[in-house]
């Protein structure tokens, strides 16, 4: 009995080979797409970030100068901090608010379909159209929000004219736009098994304890999922702020650049000033930030509780 150690990857059977071929054929659009639209551009982007390139003239090697300039760029610092504030403050507010709304909706109220529709619809309206309504609502002198404030005797707020209020205004507006997340949470809540909750009740748990100890952990995968999806969205925040602040000359960002976000500044640098190299450097820095954020998110995801019975 000779101990022949076969190589780990023994030859495949014909049907295995066919499966491999078929599998690759079917997913080929995705693989090709991955190469053309993701991997190759990322590499190109890195190259351009080391050049000075304005499209009309050939690229000009710049070394690390773009990155050095970024460190000194005052407006870049503002754009970066604005974006980070939205991610670290705006996103949690959005998600927490949506969870609370979903919990409310889950308490077996009548007319659920109607509520659901009302909360969902804003999220499918074109951003430009809806942002324009909010532009009017936020208007300092004629907007209904300030009219209501004056009614209560509070001084009117410069929602879009006071740099201290522009981000809260956006966050407030974002809650309106983000109603679809409420429905995602609701779907998850409805999957929480009744028996668990009843059992907890019999053990004497009140509503708060039930929610904290059972409901939330049960939907934690969904919460994690929405965090991931939304964090990308918040890092790429563009349309809402652009519609509210961009004027005819292409300047945007609101008073004191208070709602100039990373992708807006990148857009202006790349497509208005045509400094492609500089903009590519910006893009790469964002890439690295998001990478780090993703890793941190996944590393600290111990609180996510995966149920065993789902595939």
């Amino acid at each position: 009995m000779t101990a022949i150690s076969l190589p780990r990857r023994a030859r495949m059977t014909v049907s295995q080979w066919r499966s491999l071929r078929n599998g690759l054929l079917f997913v080929s659009p995705a693989i090709i797409g991955l190469a053309i639209f993701t991997i190759w551009p990322i590499a190109q982007s890195l190259y351009y970030s080391f050049t000075d390139y304005n499209i009309l003239q050939p690229p000009y090697w710049f070394g690390l100068e773009n990155y050095e300039d970024l460190l000194k760029d005052r407006v870049f610092g503002i754009a970066l901090s604005n974006t980070l504030i939205m991610v670290l403050i705006g996103l949690p507010i959005h998600l927490i608010f949506d969870i609370l709304m979903a919990l409310l909706l889950n308490s077996k109220v009548r007319g659920l379909p109607l509520y659901r529709t009302i909360f969902y619809i804003p999220s499918i309206t074109p951003v430009v159209a809806s942002a324009i309504v909010w532009l009017w609502l936020f208007n300092g002198q004629y907007g209904i929000l300030n009219v209501i404030l004056r009614w209560f005797g509070i001084a009117p707020i410069g929602w879009l004219t006071d740099p201290n209020w522009t981000k809260p205004a956006l966050i407030f507006m974002g809650l309106w736009f983000g109603g679809n997340t409420i429905l995602v949470y609701l779907a998850g809540l409805q999957d929480v098994p009744e028996e668990m909750l009843e059992a907890a009740e019999l053990d004497g748990a009140n509503a708060l304890q039930k929610t904290w100890k059972i409901t939330l952990p049960m939907i934690s995968p969904i919460i994690f999922y929405t965090m991931i999806i939304n964090i990308i969205g918040y890092f790429q925040y563009f349309s809402e702020a652009w519609v509210l602040t961009a004027n005819r000359e292409g300047a945007a960002g609101g008073p004191a650049n208070s709602i100039l976000f990373y992708s807006m500044y990148l857009y202006q640098t790349a497509f208005q000033q045509f400094k492609m190299g500089y903009a590519s450097a910006m893009a790469w820095i964002l890439f690295l930030i998001v990478l780090v954020a993703t890793v941190i998110l996944f590393r600290t995801s111990g609180w996510v509780y995966y149920h065993a019975e789902n595939t």
Binding site: Q141, Y142, T161, P255, A256, F271
Partner: protein, 435 residues
């Protein structure tokens, strides 16, 4: 609920295809279809509204007179940045006039335009007959980059009737008088909201020059935004904001109607001294024909410049890489002829850049127009600074102006910052260009 057929997949795709086809319908169809032998030229203009209509009349005339060329004009509604975007994107229009004079050098420096030097030399256009201060602004680095068919100079408009309300019988000659009249005109309602103002000064470049400052030291290629006179100008402007309250002013301005309409803030009396060009004469005739409107030069402070104006305007140019620059040039040359230039300028009340048409009675018969013309020909008429980062400079100045008016930063600090940042940008650009 699971009885679907694969036909439904086909149906879905068909629906998608139908949507595509339906969507495709409105895409075909132009107002007038050109023939195959014609050179089809796209011309992007910045004018809109009634000004566009006037120009369209001239374009139609050109098309009729030139059977081998068809000009298709569209407006970018004042969004001039679209031009550079299109040029950079590789599919530019054949002719543009949506380029500000202050942008010309910057765009030319980027190799985005086709130089007109040879065309002009061949056809005998060498600046004779043009106002020299304009002609010199279209040349840079040894080439001619564009021609203007219209030009503007800047001045203030006011209504004598409203002035009479506060006891002002004649136009202010000094800045102090202007302040006095303006403050007398201001009205605030019981809630503290602004109802009416005199002037809300804007445009640091203009007022900085009125105060006697210099923005660019051409000999040394130095940015001088923090010239003490410019700082003083900015502080004066911001003074209006801080006195009225930045929030109140912002709210007030957000309620202004469309500029190009009867609801223009000047025509409805919200603003009573406004900064305009001579083209505003035509606006008034169109939208407020019964309003009596006078114009005056910006009154200077002590040590400032009297009868100071800035001039700018749309420049006709040919983007780089167009297929038929010859045809493009034919249109620009035709429009620049005295007769056509005169007709266009008269109907939109702009100053023709050529001396002969500008001196015609139909123009100078109106004293307001004559004033604008005198300012343009005066010794204190300033064009844009001829340097490649002019646009960037303008953007940073506007940012500084906004910040100072909102009370976020002092004028000195803001302008120091602008000077430093724009100087860096300028140095880098000049180095890249090897100038």
């Amino acid at each position: 609920m699971l009885n679907m057929k694969r036909r439904d997949f086909l149906r879905l795709s068909a629906a998608g295809g139908a949507a595509a086809a339906l969507g495709g319908l409105p895409l075909s169809g132009l107002a007038a279809r050109p023939t195959k032998q014609q050179a089809f030229l796209n011309y992007w203009t910045g004018w809109s509204g009634f000004e566009f209509d006037v120009l369209q009349g001239l374009v139609d005339q050109f098309n009729a007179e030139h059977p081998d060329i068809f000009i298709n004009m569209t407006t970018v509604f004042g969004q001039y940045d679209k031009v550079l975007t299109a040029i950079a994107g590789g599919n530019p229009p054949d002719i543009v006039s949506a380029v500000w004079l202050r942008q010309l050098v910057g765009i030319a420096a980027r190799d985005a335009l086709t130089p007109l030097t040879e065309f002009a030399a061949r056809d005998g256009i060498d600046g004779t007959g043009y106002f020299p201060q304009l002609w010199s602004n279209w040349q840079w680095n040894g080439e001619l980059w564009g021609l203007m068919v219209t030009s503007n100079s800047n001045l203030l408009a006011y209504s004598p009737a409203v002035f009479a309300e506060v006891g002002a019988t004649e136009a202010p000659k000094t800045l102090a008088e202007l302040d006095e009249i303006s403050m007398a005109l201001e009205k605030v309602d019981s809630d503290g909201n602004i109802e009416r103002v005199g002037i809300l000064p804007a445009g640091l470049r203009w007022w900085g020059l009125v105060f006697g400052g210099t923005f660019y030291d051409e000999a040394n290629q130095k940015i001088t935004a923090n010239d003490p006179k410019i700082v003083a100008a900015l502080e004066w402007m911001a003074g209006y904001w801080s006195r009225l309250g930045p929030e109140k002013v912002a709210a007030f301005q957000s309620g202004f109607g469309d500029y190009l309409s009867t609801q223009n803030s000047f025509f409805v009396g919200k603003e009573n001294i406004t900064q305009v060009g001579e083209w505003f004469i035509q606006f008034q005739k169109q939208f407020a024909p019964d309003l009596e409107m006078n114009m005056m030069a910006a009154p200077p402070p002590e040590g400032g410049r009297a009868n100071c104006t800035t001039f700018d305007g749309s420049v006709f140019a040919i983007p780089a890489g167009v297929q038929n620059p010859e045809a493009s040039w034919t249109f620009i040359k035709w429009l620049s002829e005295d007769e056509h230039m005169g007709e266009f300028c008269y109907n939109i009340q702009n100053i023709p850049p050529k001396v002969a048409p500008a001196s015609e009675e139909r123009f100078v018969g109106d004293p307001r127009f004559q004033l604008a013309l005198d300012l343009l020909n005066g010794e204190n008429a300033f064009g844009p600074d001829k340097m490649p980062v002019n646009d960037f400079y303008g953007t940073r100045l506007t940012e500084a102006e906004t910040a100072v008016k909102a009370g976020q930063i002092s004028a000195q600090e803001a302008l120091d910052r602008v000077t430093q940042e724009v100087q860096e940008e300028l140095d880098k650009t000049l180095e890249r260009l090897g100038i």
